[in-house]
Every structure is written in structure tokens, then in C-alpha cells.
Amino acid sequence: MSSYAIGLSTDMAIMSFLALAAYLLLLVGRISFGLQAFFGFGAYVAGIGSTMLNWPFPIAVVFAVVIGAIVSAAVAWPTMGLSGLRYAIASLAFAEMARIALSQWVWQVRIDERLIGPNGVDGFRDIRWVLTNDITDTQYLVICLGALACCVAVMWYFERRRIGTAMRAIGFDETLAQHMGLNTHHIRVMTATIAGAIAALGGALYAHRTTYIEPAVFEPMLGVHSVGYALIGGLGAPFAPLLGVILDLGLLNAFHDLAQWRMVIFGGLVAIFLRLKPRGLVDEKLFDSLRKGI
């Protein structure tokens, strides 16, 4: 595989985490415009862990995931009771608060006569774990794909169980789900916690891929895109949102002349899908027939 293809695949894998997070929330009937905040938290925490605290990479990543989960749960608890529209705006407000806070935060330590660490609006440079440990691009791709496969597998497992059905029931008709005895609030908060954790995982991998992160990256359009990926790819199965990522990033890279019209195409696709196939390409019906066919 060419190094270009490897790079592209890694980017796709990393974006897929965001798409999965958006997918989970869509299952319980919520659109979040704030997933980019947890992506950012994961990036910063993992970067700090591996660079400033000298933790082994896996520990830094796990810690980032845990922080992402905790913060997500804390934000979800008061906001998941809001109506869908208000939740979307609240999540956006939170993410913007996070972005502005990060752009003010400076914490640097001296390592080998250089100042390393988050430097407010200028971001966090030199997250060099990949380079200092001679990890090749291919190896890093394998790491990312491995993490992604784990996520998808775990999600797949739980979707077959009652909790998966419960989540979808809440998404389809919340009142009915409550009448069936489901604690919709708890389930939604749990879903949001996991979504935040997955987004943070993606962010952790992102930080080490690009070696440089800044708060401006974690802006609303990133979150909006992730929701779009899940909406287009589909809500039928955990691998479905990945199709949305492949479609957007793949098309964008395949036809460079389209770069100027990328949002027009992507936005148009989202709007059309919401009209004709609101549960995406691979919706529950299609996935069911695929399963029965096999």
C-alpha cells in the first residue's frame, strides 16, 4: 500500500471513532453537536500522558478514554433530560466552552531543554511518541484499525443483547419505552458516556498521528461531520457509520477537483438521505435482510 493510502486509511480509522460516537447517540434519538469536545479531551490527555508524564502509550490512551467517559457522563446527566433540540444546542454550547477553555490553557514542562505542553491558542506540539519509538505508518494504522475493530466488535456484541434493543426503543419512541419500564434517562446517560469514551479514543489516536493539536481543530464542524457520517452510513449496525466516513474522505481524496464542493456534496447527501432514508444507507431493515441472506 502506498504511504498515501496508509495515511488516508489512518485518517478514516480515526474519524470513524467520532462517527461511532455519533451513531450511538443517534440510536437513542439524540443528535450531539459536541462530540468534538471529547475528541479534543482525548487528544490533549493522551498527548500529555505520553509526552509530559512519560506514560506508556497504551496507558495514556486508556487514561484519555476514562477522562472522556467521566466528563461525558458529567455533562450528560443534566442535559439528557432536555428535548432533542435543546440537547443539541446544549452540547454545542458545552463544546464551545471546552474549546475556548483549551485555548486559554497553558501547561508546559521542560523536557530536554524544550518547553512541551498545551500552549493555549497555539496548541500542543511535539506529541512525538510515534516518532521516538520508531512506529511506522503501517504499524500505526494497524494500531488504529485494531482499536476500531475492538470498538465495533464490542458494540456488535451488546447490540444483540437487551441493552441494544432498549437503546433503539428509546430512540424510536421515548414515551413508549418509558411505559415499558425502561429508565430512559439512565440509558441515555450511559450511551453518552460510552460515546464520549469512544470519541476520546479517537482523539488520543489523532494526537499521536498528527503530533500537533490545537483547539481550533475541535470546532463544531468536526462534530457536525461525524453526525453526518452516521446519518449517511446508517444506523443499522456498528460498521455502518464507517461507510459514511469512507464515502466522504474517500470521495474527497479521489476527486481533488471536488474539494471546493465537498460540503455541498456532503450536505446535499445528508439532506437527501434524511428525506429518503432517514436511518441511513445500512438501516435496520437492510441489515436484517443482509443477515438473513447470509
Binding site: 454550547a93 458545552f94 446519518l231 446535499g268
Partner: protein
């Protein structure tokens, strides 16, 4: 002590002026939310599209100012119609049996429509930027070249006038909505759309008209702001959406009149935050205030049922 008082007064005046402008910007968004229960995330983008389209024509043909404004409003209305068709029309259908649907279903249709509108936001913003790629575009300006000085307090009276005009427009629109025949149609169509249809209202058409009115108001507000700014960037659309959204929702988003109070409160909070804590705090406080107020509006009980 005196300096503190002067700064406080300045911050208050600036905040109120900004706030009046925010209310004016948020009027259209509030109108479509209060009367149609639509959260139109393409709100700023439609006006941006109109502005950039108008500017593009202006750069070709040097349009006189009134013509430019009319062109901008017209293009914004076209974009609004596009958003209507793609996102909102046909998504407020109601069952024949009871006139209302289970809460879950209504929520989903609203959310889906909002999601579609953010997709159109992406589209319109990109087309606008492709039309006029330079980041900063000049806009004909009628800004005053001086400001009033009362002691050490400075008042930009052109912006002050705009704020007053904006608040007046909000107030008049709210009165019109509450007391006019057309306003009654708008309100009836959304209050109970089946009852409205049985009363002979063409609900789809009425809602479309309300949406166009909101779009038209947004274009006029945008033009009035830019006439004083003298320039525009692609960020203007998002600025309109975010400021308008906060102004509309800060005090609950339940009535059209609340956009005035919401806008003024927003302006004041921003102004004080900037004075006391610096420019970055200004933005942060805006979102923090919005977040806190949203969260306070719906207490969550143990069982997850909203009040």
C-alpha cells in the same frame, strides 16, 4: 472609584447596544421557532448566501444601495425556500385520528428537520465562499465617522440607533403576531395543525409564509448590521446563528417577545465579561450562560421523565 463607575457605565451602554442588535438578528430565528417549532440551523447561512450573492452582483454591476439590499433579501428568500423544501416541508404532518402524535414521533421529526438544516447550512456557506473567495469582503457602509462623547463615555450613536430600530422591529413583530389576522393564522397552524386544517387553513402554505417572513427579517437585519460594519466575512453566518440562537433561547424561547430580553441580557453579560475578565471570557460566558439556562429549563427526575 470614578473610573470604575465610568467603565461600568460604558460597559452597560455597549452591552445594551450590542444586545439590541442581537435581538434584531435573532428575531427571524425566534419567529420560526416560536411559531413553527422549527430550529433552522441554516438561518445565518441563508442570509450569508443572500449577502454574498448580492455582493457578487454588486461587484459586477455596481448596484445602488437600495437595490443591493432588495437583491440580498430576494436571494435570501430563495435560499429560505430551498431550506423549506429540503428540510421542513411535509415534516409536520399529523395523524387524522387525534390531531397529535405520540411525543416520541414529534421529537424525531423535529430533530430530523434540524439535522437536515445543518446539512444545508454546510452547503450554502460553501457556495457563498466559492462565489467570493477572498476572506474579507467590503460592504457599502453608512457608518457614522464620529461618536458622541459624554464626559469620558463614548456612544456610537449609529449603532445605538440600529439597536433601537432592531428592538422596535422585534416589539412590532411580536405585537403583530399576537393581534393580526395573519399572526393568528401562523399561531393556529402550529398550535393544533389538525384543528387548523378543519378550520379551513392551508397549514402547509401558512407555515411556509411564516418561514419566508423569518427569512426576510433575517436578511433585513443582516443588511442593517453590515451597513454599519462596512465589511463581511464567511463567519458572519455562524455569528448570526449563534447570537440569534442565544438571544432567542436565553429567556426560554417560548414567546417572540423574549428575544428582546434575551438579546439585551446577552449583550450585557458579554460586555461585563469582557470588561471584567477580558475578550476571551466574553465568548466563554456566552456559551456558559446558554448552557446553564438550557439545563435549568428541564429538570430531570429520577425516572427520566421531563417536567
Amino acid at each position: 472609584m470614578a473610573t470604575w463607575l465610568i467603565n461600568a457605565t460604558q460597559a452597560t451602554i455597549d452591552g445594551l447596544i450590542d444586545g439590541g442588535i442581537y435581538a434584531w438578528i435573532g428575531l427571524g430565528l425566534s419567529l420560526s421557532f416560536v411559531t413553527l417549532r422549527r430550529l433552522n440551523l441554516a438561518y445565518g447561512a441563508t442570509a450569508l448566501f443572500g449577502i454574498y450573492g448580492g455582493l457578487w452582483l454588486h461587484q459586477k454591476w455596481d448596484l445602488p444601495l437600495p437595490v443591493l439590499v432588495v437583491v440580498i433579501v430576494v436571494i435570501t428568500l430563495v435560499a429560505t425556500a430551498y431550506v423549506e423544501v429540503l428540510c421542513f416541508s411535509g415534516r409536520t404532518n399529523v395523524s387524522a385520528q387525534s390531531g397529535s402524535r405520540p411525543a416520541g414521533e414529534i421529537q424525531n421529526a423535529e430533530i430530523v428537520a434540524m439535522a437536515a438544516s445543518f446539512a444545508i447550512w454546510m452547503q450554502l456557506e460553501q457556495v457563498a465562499v466559492n462565489l467570493l473567495p477572498r476572506h474579507l469582503q467590503a460592504f457599502p457602509s453608512i457608518a457614522a465617522t464620529s461618536e458622541w462623547a459624554i464626559g469620558e463615555i463614548y456612544i456610537r450613536y449609529d449603532r445605538g440607533l440600529l439597536a433601537v430600530v432592531g428592538l422596535l422591529c422585534c416589539w412590532l413583530t411580536a405585537k403583530w403576531l399576537a393581534h393580526s389576522r395573519t399572526g393568528l393564522r401562523f399561531r393556529a397552524a402550529t398550535d393544533h395543525s389538525l384543528a387548523a386544517r378543519l378550520s379551513g387553513l392551508r397549514v402547509d402554505r401558512v407555515q411556509r409564509h411564516a418561514f419566508y417572513l423569518a427569512g426576510g427579517l433575517s436578511a433585513v437585519a443582516a443588511c442593517s448590521v453590515l451597513l454599519l460594519d462596512g465589511q463581511v466575512t464567511p463567519m458572519f453566518g455562524m455569528w448570526m446563528l449563534f447570537k440569534g440562537l442565544v438571544a432567542a433561547w436565553l429567556l426560554g424561547g417560548h414567546s417572540l417577545g423574549s428575544v428582546m430580553g434575551g438579546g439585551l441580557l446577552l449583550g450585557l453579560v458579554e460586555s461585563y465579561a469582557q470588561w471584567l475578565m477580558g475578550a476571551q471570557a466574553r465568548e466563554f460566558v456566552l456559551y456558559a450562560l446558554l448552557f446553564v439556562l438550557l439545563v435549568r429549563q428541564a429538570p430531570v427526575t429520577r425516572k427520566g421523565l421531563t417536567a
